[in-house]
């Protein structure tokens, strides 16, 4: 039987002002994952991260993290795909296991964003765009997403309050996640009354700035039960990419990279949208959560907000979405977020999600986004049969 399984997971809480270094964060998550798998060494390591060079003046994270985890000597890599780095690192690890060259692989992501000024972090996030083309305008990452939001609301005649249902849902779900950055219920009115960041996006449309790390131990499906009684199969791991700059695309209200990655993932996993029991999407901004519901095949263009508004995406709804709070409320330490999604789905599918548990979840889907819809890893996970 050819396939890859998750046999251990670890996550730090997401916080602003953790006081922990980049290395401490990853060691905390990596140690949890390794202990969860009942092992003390791995054969290789893939760590996702976006901004360590810019914010911490630190690169070479592969060997750095391998050393800090007591795994010096193994092949180790930093994998960078902007805000999707954690998901792309997982994709690299899946390929390593499938190659048969590396038996037990640690994948994950880490980002430390607090302790810097907002203009510094804002400049760092803009490294995901084509600087030569748009850097001179002074546009920000929020600003790019704001242009999408404006066009989306204009074209599909969707009011801001409909889109605001997404952050409201995430904040509700995060109340039950002890590792979430925000434990605060919000209303649509709170979103619409929060300060403008980049019109029309307001503060509560946007994920915050936080520190965090998440890690997973992967091995072959065949060997998975040597490590755990509750392995979770990675039935598909795909990455779609698109032109980097927003204006190079004919339509900014859909992410072709998402559509491409998910189509391939559904085919490989032999799964249809209606089979998905639990969903994790990249809601760095409210409008992205809504667009993801459409691009991944759960709603037609312009109608995604109704799923968030009408309870379909709630944990007790037909399509439980961002069940631990998503990027908005669990937090978005950018290079780690894709790994958090997978760790959370693995907990759901192994019935270990605590108060966030969705009953009888068997199939999960995660979509992460790097840049403005530029690099999109999609993973489909399944509860492994015995």
């Amino acid at each position: 039987m050819r396939g890859v399984a998750i046999v251990g997971v670890g996550m730090t809480p997401v916080t602003s002002g953790s006081g922990k270094s980049l290395t401490e964060l990853f060691v905390e998550a990596g140690t949890q994952a390794i202990e969860d798998a009942g092992i003390d060494r791995v054969d290789s390591l893939y760590v996702g991260n976006m901004m360590s060079g810019f914010l911490q003046n630190q690169e070479h994270l592969g060997a750095l993290m391998a050393t800090a985890l007591g795994n010096e000597g193994v092949p180790s890599y930093k994998v960078e795909g902007a805000c999707a780095s954690g998901g792309v690192a997982a994709n690299a690890g899946v390929k390593a296991v499938l190659s048969g060259l590396e038996g037990v692989v640690l994948v994950g992501g880490v980002e430390k964003m607090s302790g810097y000024t907002t203009p510094e972090v804002t400049a760092g996030l803009m490294m995901a765009e084509d600087k030569a083309r748009v850097g001179g305008t002074g546009v920000t990452f929020v600003g790019l997403n704001a242009m999408i939001a404006r066009e989306y609301m204009h074209r599909y005649k969707v009011p801001h309050e409909a889109i605001a249902a997404f952050p409201v849902l995430c904040h509700e779900n995060a109340l039950d996640n002890p590792k979430a950055q925000f434990h605060k219920k919000i209303t649509v009115e709170d979103v619409l009354k929060s300060p403008l960041v980049a019109d029309p996006l307001r503060l509560f449309d946007c994920s915050g700035i936080g520190d965090g790390a998440a890690a997973l131990v992967l091995t072959s499906l065949k060997n998975a039960r040597k490590f755990t009684d509750t392995p979770v199969e990675i039935a598909a791991s795909t990455v779609g990419t698109d032109r980097v700059t927003l204006y190079q695309r004919p339509d900014i209200t859909t992410f072709e990279a998402s559509r491409k990655a998910v189509a391939e993932a559904y085919q490989r996993a032999r799964v249809k949208p209606e089979d998905v029991d639990v969903l994790e999407v990249h809601d760095a901004f409210s409008v992205l959560g809504i667009m993801a519901l459409e691009d991944l095949g759960f709603a037609s263009k312009g109608s995604g907000s109704s799923l968030a508004k009408d309870g379909v995406c709630a944990r007790d709804g037909r399509l439980p979405t961002n069940t631990f709070g998503g990027l908005k409320a669990r937090g978005h330490p950018v290079g780690a977020s894709g790994a958090y999604q997978l760790a959370e789905l693995a907990l759901q599918l192994s019935n270990r999600a605590g108060k966030c548990q969705v009953p009888n979840a068997e199939v999960g889907l995660a979509q992460s986004v790097g840049g403005i819809g530029t690099t999109v890893p999609v993973h489909i996970l399944k509860r492994a049969g015995s």
Binding site: A123, T137, G143, H154
Partner: protein, 107 residues
């Protein structure tokens, strides 16, 4: 309004691909590109008002950044000078120039 300047750019004579940014080869057919001029007018496709600028742009905010469809030319991202509340999707804008990699238009 005075006749606005034309916008310098590049066109591929083989496949008609165009852009305002120089490139080593046409990304569409890989042929050599030539310099060209686009009309100095366009329409706002979408826009935002930056209220929390990145490092290097503090003191300029709030300012408008927009996607602009140049008439008979490519789409670009640029500053739109003028009052943020006067900018709308579909509004005509005129080219003002390109200083240090920043295309500027006005209402």
């Amino acid at each position: 309004m005075a006749e606005s300047e034309q916008i310098p750019g590049y066109v591929c004579p083989k496949c008609n691909w165009f852009d305002v940014f120089r490139t080593a080869a046409c990304p569409n057919c890989h042929g050599a590109v030539q310099e060209t001029l686009f009309p100095g007018r366009g329409k706002v496709a979408s826009f935002t008002v930056i209220r929390y600028p990145p490092k290097g742009f503090q003191g300029e905010s709030p300012y408008v950044v927009a996607l602009i469809d140049i008439d008979h030319g490519p789409r670009v991202m640029a500053r739109v000078n003028g009052k943020p509340e006067d900018v709308e999707i579909g509004k005509q804008v005129s080219y003002q120039g390109n200083s240090t990699g920043r295309l500027e238009f006005t209402l």
